[in-house]
């Protein structure tokens, strides 16, 4: 019985694809396609110009190649940059108008938009391929003055806010993938929390890549005005396909005075099969700006999917007394590769940052923690604490730690610790003696190893993440 369960679990359970006719832009990356995207989304001219400026910049930028996991060259001309379910040409007004097949897809994924509405009280904005499908719980949020909608809608209805903050944290002149996103981004979520409002529920986005040959380029912008608080969740899945798919999103967070943003990700993109065929390239740029005094940004991520994960959610601690936090679990199995970590850039006085990173590699996978802690001259009395632990299972995988530590301020303290080890025989023996089988024992120990990070996740997510940790490692021991 249990074996059968494991057999089921081993396979990627979100690997179905939904048979919906989609409406695509012509293949390739050029000015026409950008104009096409902008036109179909009925965007104002300033945004089109902004995109074109990014595209100009993209022409002179080179794809970075310093990362540990190498991948075959991506042919950017062979991708679709816009893909929408056909019925979306006219956006549905409410949930009832949605294509029933789409709703079914989300049900399979475990986010029944309708039920969730009632049960969990989590507001969901779901992104299917490139277009935001539905945003639930709108009324409750509107009452508080919270804006939670797709970025397309925000561009239409709140152009001033978008214009002011879009690209203020990740400028269009940033690195290759960020600039690519700026040029061709299709949709994403937008959140604005007005001053002194504590968002009453967790906000959530669910990303899904359905169509083949598509890259997903969404853009998320979250602004927490003075004294506000928001907790935001993000989850991702994709169908199983032989070819590699690219996901290059940009996420920008802005926290003004006394505001706090908590951003949690559970990333479970399709990791490719056991032989490393297919899977998602997850090249995401996530950056938060603690703009105001006493502001706080906290990133929590559970990375179990994707063929290659390459991202560094960062905090720029500009406001005095601001706080940046990064909690991460990254698990790689089979042929998965991950190069992930964070950047903490201390600019303001009395800024604090904390990094807790747990990496687990099994099978033939390769995992790298890469991080930067930079304390500038003016950031007096700043502190950083970093802890990164790695766990190895088997001698065909790799675990690497590459921290960059820069201290230019004599009143600031940086402490960094890292360890690498395997699960000790004693611990395994102890658990097995008490009746757990080997896999259960490993699951238990790994969960204990990750606990510090799992605790940071909101309740519902924590349970899911805990299961995910177990599933990702099935079949990696023994």
């Amino acid at each position: 019985m249990r074996d059968k369960q494991i057999e089921n679990l081993k396979d990627y359970k979100y690997g179905f694809s939904t048979d919906i006719e989609s409406f695509k832009a012509p293949k390739g990356l050029n000015e026409e396609v950008i104009r096409f995207i902008s036109n179909i989304k009925k965007e104002p001219d300033w945004l089109l110009q902004w995109r074109l400026k990014a595209f100009e910049r993209l022409k002179v930028l080179e794809e970075p190649d310093w990362q540990k996991p190498k991948y075959p060259k991506i042919d950017y001309q062979d991708l679709y940059y816009y893909s929408a379910p056909k019925s979306f040409k006219e956006k549905p007004k409410n949930l009832e108008d949605l294509d029933p097949k789409l709703l079914e897809t989300y049900k399979k994924l475990g986010i029944p938009l309708q039920e969730q509405k009632r049960l969990n009280g989590i507001a969901v904005d779901a992104v299917f391929d490139s277009v935001s499908v539905a945003t639930t719980f709108k009324d409750t949020l509107t009452e508080k003055g919270i804006i939670f909608c797709s970025i397309s809608e925000a561009i239409e209805k709140h152009p001033d806010l978008v214009k002011k903050y879009l690209g203020s944290v990740i400028p269009i002149t940033d690195h290759f993938f960020a600039t690519l996103n700026s040029a061709v981004f299709t949709d994403g979520s937008f959140v604005y929390i007005p001053p002194n409002v504590k968002c009453p529920m967790e906000l959530s986005t669910y990303f899904r890549i359905n169509a083949s040959d598509t890259g997903q380029f969404e853009r998320t912008l979250i602004i927490a005005d003075k004294g506000s608080y928001v907790s935001y969740l993000e989850g991702c899945t994709a169908p199983m396909r032989d070819e590699n798919q690219l996901h290059a999103a940009n996420v920008e967070l802005i926290a003004l005075d006394d505001a706090e943003i908590k951003y949690s990700t559970v990333q479970n993109w399709y990791p490719g099969d056991k032989d490393g065929k297919g899977g998602i390239y997850n090249f995401v740029t996530k950056r938060g700006l603690c703009k105001g005094k006493n502001s706080k940004i906290s990133w929590t991520q559970v990375e179990t999917g994707s063929a290659i994960t390459w991202k560094y959610p960062s905090c720029i601690l500009k406001g005095d007394n601001s706080i940046g936090e990064f909690y991460s679990i990254a698990i790689t199995n089979n042929h998965q590769k991950a190069d992930t970590g964070t950047k903490m850039i201390h600019l303001g006085k009395n800024t604090k940052s904390k990094i807790i990173s747990k990496g687990i590699s099994a099978g033939k996978s390769d995992m790298t923690y890469r991080g930067l802690v930079d304390i500038s001259k003016n950031a007096s009395n700043s502190t950083n604490y970093t802890q990164c632990d790695s766990l190895l299972m088997g001698n065909k995988c790799g675990a690497h730690t590459v921290p960059y530590i820069k201290n230019k301020n004599s009143n600031s303290n940086i402490a960094h610790e890292a360890t690498t080890s395997k699960i000790s025989e004693d611990q395994l023996h102890y658990c097995q003696q008490r009746g757990l089988n080997q896999e259960e024992a490993v699951g238990l120990i790994v969960n204990g190893f990750c606990k510090e990070v799992l605790q940071q996740l909101p309740m519902e997510f924590a349970v899911e993440a805990q299961k995910l940790v177990g599933i990702s490692l099935e079949g990696s021991v023994g």
């Binding site: 790695s390 299972m393 690497h400 921290p403 530590i405 301020n409 600031s412 303290n413 402490a415 360890t419």
Partner: protein
Amino acid sequence: MEQKLKTDFDKFISTSNFSNQEIKLKKEALDNFMKNGFPSRKLENWKFSDINQIIKKNIGELTFYNDYKIENEINDDIFIKEIEHNKIVIVNGKVQQLSFEYEESDKINITTLDILNQNLNQDNSLLSLNNSFSNKIHKILVKKNYSLKKPLIIYQITNEKVSNTNINFQLNFDLEESSSIKIINFSVDDSEKNFINNLFNFNLDKNAILKNYKIDKKNNTNIKYDYSNIIQKENSISETFIFSSGSDYVKNEVNCNLEGKYSSVFINGIHLLSKNKHHEIRTKTNHLYENTKSYQLIKSVIDDSSKSVYQGKIYVDSKAQKTDGYQLSKAILLNEQVEFNAKPELEIYADDVKCSHGSASGSLDEDSIFYLMSRGLDQKTAKELLINGFLLDVVEKITDEKIKKLIKNMIGLN
């Protein structure tokens, strides 16, 4: 620069007597250097110390030709009197004296290499530069089961005859089975604004022991690059201690391959910097076999507007189960203008290992100063005492008692 390199190289070859084979290899090395030039910050290993810029800014135009025919007088005053020792005296890159007067002559074999070190990392252009311009390379072989009775002190002297010159020097040591040697590498610089490029090769056979202590204390404006390559077989031990303080710019690089079981490497270092000095220590320990051990402790005290960099990498091959690797770097920042950069790196492909690293940097602990002052010390003395204690921790790691005492006296730590 290219033209200068070519003409200096031709002049160098025509005034020396190298075999055709050597000239061919030297030319290849020169081509490799010309292709890559001086390393710049674009290379990951040189990210924190752009030697290309530093040479341009501090020296400007370099002369690569170095006349090895000049005989230099050695002033006896520089020799260390406290302990009896064997000597190698190198003046401006030329071996001027080689004496192992305290040793049995048939146990040590000194030869000059007739071919260059081919197996060196081709990516490192400074090693190519060294290969192309260094004089005849000496190799010191310590025979089986022989332990040197007295330490060997290598005096690396530069005098006022050279300036704006690139000096390249190489020395090789082969330690046969169960042999041992203690080396103190002592820099005495009376020159200004030269680029000194050193390469030391150590081959340790089974059970061999190498103790290598490097002292750079005297203030000078030279720029130095020092590369030690250590290959270790079964049960061998190497201990490297670096005191880096005097020159304006120094990069010490230690690369160690642990190729036999139960071999172990210890690298400890001190950066004591002031003014606008910029020193770096980069260590790479490669665990290539089971049951090997590496340990590194690097401490920096930096003042004025100086800059200290530590890059350490522990590499564990998938074969190297039961590896024990440890790395710790600590820095005390005494002034607002200073900078401390660290990159402690782990690259691990085996699961049954114990590897960890730590790095901490910050100001002197206020509570400790208060504690000492409340017991009657003035602030200056209290600070000095704390710094002393902080650095002494590294010196205490020296395993040879006599040398430890000597070094303590030399660098004024007690």
